[in-house]
C-alpha cells in the first residue's frame, strides 16, 4: 500500500525544489479527508430526500434545519483552533472532530424518525467538522518546509475533493441496491467514517514538530501579526464579493433552461476542475509565491461573472465551470499556504481558524447580499454589481496583501 511505503525515507537533507516527495503526513491527512468526505457526502446527498420524503418534513423546515447549524460551525472552528494550539494537541483535537462526525451517523441511524434526534446528529456532525478543520490544516502546514506548502495543500485538497465526488456516487449505489433504504446509507457512512478515524490514528504523527522548549506563552492571538491581518482583510474582502456557487449555477440554469436532472452535474464539473488543478496550482504557488496565484484565482472568478453577463450558451457553461475550478484551485489551499508560514507554529491552528472563519462569514454575507440584490434589482444589475464589487476587492487586495517574501517558517516572536 502506498501509504505504508511512504514512511519518511528523507530524514537528512532533502533534495531541493519541487521534485521532493509530498510529506507522508499530508498524504495520510489527504487519505483521511478522502474517506471522511465519502462518508459525509453520502449523507449530504440523501439527507434532503430522507427528511422530506421519508419523514414528511416540508422543504422549508429542511432549509431551516440545515441552515441553523452553518452559523454555529464558524464559532466552533475558532474553538477548535484554540484548543489545538494550547499544548500542540493538533492531532487529538482533529481526532475528536473526525470521531464526532463519524458517530453522528450512528445517531442518524438510531434516531429513526425523531426530528430531535436527527437535529442533534446533524449538530454533532457540524460540530465535528468545525472542530477538526483548523487543526488539520495546521498539521499540513507544519508537515513540511514553507516553500512546498502550496503543493502539500494542493495534494490534500485534490484528495479531499475526490472523496466529495465519490460520496454521492456511493450513496446512489447503496440506494439503488437497497431500493431506497436510507438507513443503509447511514450505516455505510458510519463504517466509512470509522475507517477515516482509524487512518488518522495510525498514520498521522501526533505532535507538531514545533519545539515546545519555550515555556513563555505567546501573547495575544494571530491578529497581533500585521502580515496576518493583511491576509485576513484581503481574504474577507474578496470573500464578501463572492456571490456563492449556487447562484452561478442558477444563472446558468436560467440562461440555458437546463433540465433539472442535469443541474447536479454543474457543481460536479466545477469540482472536477478543482480536483485536476489543485496540485498544479499549488506547485505554481510554490514557485512564484502565493500572493499572485491567490489574486489570479479571484480574477478567474471575475471572469466567470463576466461570462454570465452575456447570453448563456454551452461554451459559456464550460468556461464558467472551468473558471470556477481555477478559482478554487488557486484560492482554497493556496490561502492556507499563504497564511501558514506567517503564523508562529504555536498559534497556527488558531490563526488559520480565524482566517477560515473570516472568509466563510464574508462569503455568507456576500451570498446574502447578492440574493437581496437579485430580488430587488433583478438578475442583470445584481451580477454587474457583484462583478464591480469583486473588481474593487481585487484592486484593494492587490494593495493590502503583503508583497512576496513574508517571514519564513515560524518567525520568532519579538
Amino acid at each position: 500500500m502506498y501509504l505504508a511505503n511512504t514512511g519518511r525515507p528523507d530524514a537528512p537533507p532533502r533534495p531541493a525544489g519541487a521534485r521532493r516527495r509530498v510529506p507522508a503526513t499530508v498524504v495520510a491527512l489527504g487519505a483521511v479527508s478522502l474517506v471522511t468526505d465519502v462518508s459525509s457526502e453520502m449523507v449530504t446527498a440523501v439527507l434532503p430526500l430522507y427528511l422530506v420524503l421519508g419523514l414528511g418534513l416540508s422543504p422549508l423546515q429542511f432549509g431551516f434545519l440545515d441552515g441553523m447549524f452553518n452559523g454555529a460551525t464558524a464559532l466552533v472552528r475558532l474553538l477548535g483552533g484554540r484548543l489545538a494550539d494550547r499544548g500542540g494537541h493538533h492531532k487529538r483535537v482533529a481526532l475528536a472532530g473526525y470521531l464526532l462526525s463519524a458517530l453522528s451517523r450512528l445517531g442518524l441511524l438510531l434516531a429513526g424518525g425523531a426530528t430531535a434526534g436527527i437535529a442533534a446528529s446533524l449538530a454533532a456532525d457540524r460540530l465535528g467538522k468545525g472542530v477538526r478543520t483548523a487543526p488539520r490544516d495546521a498539521l499540513i502546514s507544519l508537515s513540511g518546509p514553507p516553500e512546498t506548502l502550496g503543493r502539500a495543500f494542493g495534494v490534500h485538497r485534490a484528495m479531499d475533493t475526490t472523496g466529495a465526488l465519490l460520496g454521492p456516487l456511493a450513496a446512489f449505489a447503496v440506494l439503488w441496491a437497497t431500493a431506497d433504504a436510507y438507513d443503509a446509507v447511514f450505516a455505510v457512512s458510519f463504517c466509512t467514517g470509522l475507517l477515516g478515524v482509524l487512518l488518522l490514528v495510525l498514520y498521522v504523527p501526533s505532535a507538531a514538530p514545533a519545539p515546545p522548549a519555550r515555556s513563555t506563552p505567546l501573547h495575544g492571538g494571530a491578529l497581533r501579526d500585521p502580515a496576518f491581518r493583511r491576509i485576513l482583510y484581503t481574504a474577507s474582502l474578496l470573500g464578501a464579493a463572492t456571490i456563492g456557487d449556487s447562484f452561478l449555477y442558477l444563472l446558468i440554469q436560467r440562461g440555458l433552461d437546463l433540465p433539472p436532472a442535469l443541474f447536479p452535474l454543474l457543481p460536479l464539473g466545477a469540482a472536477t476542475g478543482y480536483l485536476l488543478l489543485a496540485v498544479p496550482a499549488g506547485r505554481i504557488a510554490d514557485r512564484v509565491g502565493r500572493r499572485l496565484p491567490f489574486l489570479a484565482g479571484h480574477l478567474a472568478l471575475l471572469g466567470a461573472y463576466a461570462a454570465l453577463l452575456f447570453p448563456v450558451a454551452w461554451p459559456t457553461v464550460v468556461a464558467v465551470l472551468a473558471l470556477l475550478g481555477v478559482f478554487y484551485a488557486f484560492t482554497d489551499g493556496v490561502l492556507m499556504a499563504l497564511a501558514g508560514p506567517v503564523l508562529h507554529a504555536h498559534r497556527r491552528a488558531g490563526g488559520l481558524a480565524v482566517l477560515q472563519t473570516g472568509q466563510a462569514l464574508a462569503r455568507l454575507l456576500g451570498a446574502a447580499g447578492f440574493g437581496a440584490a437579485w430580488t430587488f434589482w433583478g438578475q442583470g444589475p445584481a451580477l454587474w454589481t457583484a462583478a464591480l464589487a469583486l473588481a474593487g476587492a481585487l484592486a484593494a487586495g492587490w494593495r493590502i496583501l503583503p508583497a512576496p517574501a513574508p517571514a519564513r517558517d515560524a518567525p520568532e516572536a519579538p
Binding site: 446527498a45 439527507l47 414528511g56 441496491a177 475507517l195 482509524l198 433539472p260
Partner: protein, 328 residues
C-alpha cells in the same frame, strides 16, 4: 527504533478494519435489501366502487378506505406516496428509487387498474383529479441535489384524458398579474384544483418570493393571478369556495394556517385549525375539509377534519392517514 514491525502492524490493522467495516457495510446493505423486498399485498378486489373516505395508510404505505357506515377500514389498495380519487379515476404518485428523485404518476380507473403512467423528475407532492375524472394534475418538487440546496422548485403536470394531452410542466402557461402579461423565469406552480366543468382550474404560482392564487383556463391555456398569499387551493364540490393554506408567520416551524376563500365576494376566513398545515386540503363534503398533519404517537401522519365555516373544533379523523379523498 525498529519501524518495520510497527509499519507491518499498522498495515495489518488497516486491512483488518477495512475487512470488518466493509463486511459490516455489506451485511447491512444486504439486510436492508432483503427487508426492502415488497411486503405490500395488494388486494385485487379493492376498488373505487365503494363510497367512503379513501386515504393513504402510513403504516403500510397503501391506500385504504373507511366507509361512512363505520366498521373496520378496508385495506389492500395500491401503494402510493400521494393519492387522490374521485368516483371514476384515481391518481397514485410513487417515488422511484434512486437519486435524483423521480416521481411516477399512475392513472387508475374505477377498479384501480393502471391506465396510464408518466414519470417526471422530483418528489411526489400533490395530486388532484377533477370530479368527472377526466383531468388530472400532480406536483413534484425537485430538491435533494446535495450540490444545490438553496432553493426547491416545483413542477406541475396536467393530463387531459379526453385528448390524452399531457403538459409535463405548466410553467410556460401565459400568465397575467395585475392585468398585464407577466414574464419571469422563476415561476413555480403547484397545487392545481379543477372546477366541475373540467376547464377552469385554480393553482398557486410563486414568483419573486410571493405566492399568488391563479385562475386558469385549460381550453385557452391561460392563467391570471387573483390574489396574493394563497397556497395549495382546493375548490369545494359546489365550486363556490376555495380552501387553502395561507402563510401567516415567518416562523419556519409553523408558517401556515388553513383559510377558506369565498369566490363570490373574495372574502376569506380562517378555519378553527390553529396548527400549521402543509397540505392541499380535500373537501370531504360541502361543509368539511380534511387535511393531514404530522402524526401523534410515532405515526407518520394523521388526517384531521374541520368545518369549512371556521366554527367548532378540528377532529382527528383517521390516525395514521394522509392524502384523504372522499368518494361518493
Amino acid at each position: 527504533m525498529n519501524r518495520r514491525p510497527s509499519q507491518l502492524r499498522r498495515l495489518a490493522l488497516v486491512v483488518l478494519s477495512v475487512l470488518v467495516l466493509g463486511g459490516g457495510s455489506l451485511g447491512y446493505v444486504l439486510h436492508a435489501r432483503h427487508r426492502g423486498l415488497p411486503t405490500a399485498t395488494v388486494d385485487g378486489s379493492f376498488s373505487l366502487a365503494e363510497p367512503g373516505l379513501y386515504y393513504r395508510d402510513s403504516a403500510t404505505g397503501q391506500v385504504a378506505r373507511r366507509s361512512g357506515t363505520g366498521g373496520p377500514p378496508a385495506t389492500g389498495g395500491p401503494a402510493c406516496e400521494r393519492f387522490y380519487a374521485t368516483g371514476e379515476r384515481a391518481l397514485c404518485l410513487r417515488k422511484l428509487p434512486g437519486i435524483p428523485a423521480r416521481t411516477q404518476a399512475l392513472v387508475l380507473d374505477r377498479r384501480l387498474r393502471e391506465i396510464k403512467r408518466v414519470t417526471v423528475p422530483g418528489i411526489p407532492n400533490r395530486a388532484r383529479v377533477s370530479a368527472s375524472g377526466n383531468v388530472l394534475s400532480w406536483t413534484a418538487f425537485a430538491t435533494g441535489d446535495s450540490y444545490a440546496t438553496t432553493a426547491f422548485s416545483t413542477r406541475t403536470s396536467i393530463l387531459d384524458l379526453r385528448t390524452g394531452y399531457l403538459i409535463k410542466s405548466m410553467e410556460e402557461i401565459p400568465l397575467t398579474i395585475d392585468g398585464t402579461r407577466y414574464h419571469a423565469s422563476d415561476v413555480n406552480y403547484w397545487g392545481v384544483t379543477f372546477a366541475r366543468d373540467d376547464n377552469r382550474f385554480y393553482a398557486t404560482v410563486s414568483t419573486k418570493g410571493r405566492t399568488h392564487l391563479v385562475e386558469g383556463n385549460l381550453r385557452d391555456w391561460s392563467a391570471k393571478a387573483l390574489r396574493e398569499n394563497v397556497e395549495c387551493p382546493s375548490l369545494s364540490p359546489d365550486d363556490t369556495r376555495i380552501a387553502f393554506k395561507k402563510k401567516v408567520s415567518d416562523d419556519p416551524a409553523a408558517p401556515w394556517r388553513l383559510y377558506v376563500l369565498d369566490l363570490a365576494d373574495m372574502r376569506e376566513h380562517p378555519l378553527a385549525e390553529t396548527r400549521s398545515v402543509d397540505d392541499q386540503a380535500a373537501w370531504l363534503d360541502d361543509k368539511t375539509v380534511g387535511y393531514a398533519l404530522p402524526g401523534r404517537d410515532g405515526r407518520a401522519a394523521d388526517t384531521w377534519s374541520t368545518p369549512a365555516d371556521g366554527t367548532s373544533e378540528p377532529r382527528l379523523l383517521i390516525p395514521g392517514g394522509s392524502s384523504p379523498a372522499a368518494v361518493s
